[in-house]
Symmetry: none
Subunit: 143 residues, 2 copies
């Protein structure tokens, strides 16, 4: 289970250090994908396989499915951690997540989220604005 929030930087070679706490669970490599809300996800190989198998089974005859398959696999990358526990983030994913320098990396149960620090700050601010609504929703689920 991935837990906790970390701040880190991407360097000029587009490498990001995976927080040390997450490395053992990933076992030297991971799948980096496009996530919701303009952030990126890191999945374990196993979890990715499960998703990929479901998605690959969609009918190619449907244009929306084709787009979806293209978007999903085209924005997924197998990343091997280097000697220092870093992964390289490819251009298309950096652009999607507005990644330039400062990052926030946060564990989210079965995946790790990677945010541009700025995007995350904006997002958190926006969340505050609608916080009462959010609390109401939690109440529904008795949390």
């Amino acid at each position: 289970m991935f837990l906790g929030t970390y701040t880190n930087k991407i360097d000029d070679k587009n490498r990001m250090a995976v927080p040390a706490k997450f490395r053992d669970q990933l076992g030297g490599k991971c799948m980096l994908t496009k996530g919701f809300d303009e952030c990126l996800y890191i999945y374990t190989m196993e979890d990715f396989e499960v998703m990929a198998a479901k998605i690959a089974a969609l009918p190619q005859s449907d244009a929306d499915f084709r787009e979806f398959i293209r978007d999903f696999f085209g924005n997924s990358e197998l990343c091997e951690l280097d000697g220092q526990g870093r992964i390289k983030i490819p251009q298309n994913l950096r652009e999607y997540a507005h990644i330039t320098k400062d990052l926030v990396t946060t564990g989210a149960m079965n995946k790790v989220e990677i945010w541009s620090a700025e995007t995350k700050a904006d997002f958190d601010l926006a969340k505050k604005m609608k916080d009462s609504k959010f609390t109401d929703k939690l109440r529904e689920f008795s949390i």
Copy 2:
């Protein structure tokens, strides 16, 4: 499994470098075909054989099938990678995909898609317009 998105160029001799990550899976040669959505597909020899067998088995008595068979095989090409890992893209396929100079090559599970950069940009823009539908779909398959 083909993954990731790459940008590349076609040169004056109509050659395109196949992204290095895809070469091992193709093993020196591949089948280049006309894809959906005004892009081209690269299949492994094995996957192409399977498809070709299915398509060849369609009843010739049906005019629509005859046309499809003609179109499919007429726009398929066996491509051998040269010493630098490039394939030559024939004229009919270049025209179909509006290929002139800049390309986007994207892995889509069992095939590789080759797009003219301009066509892909237009396509992606159109996709953004209907993004909510798309996001819902992703949500279905996310874990």
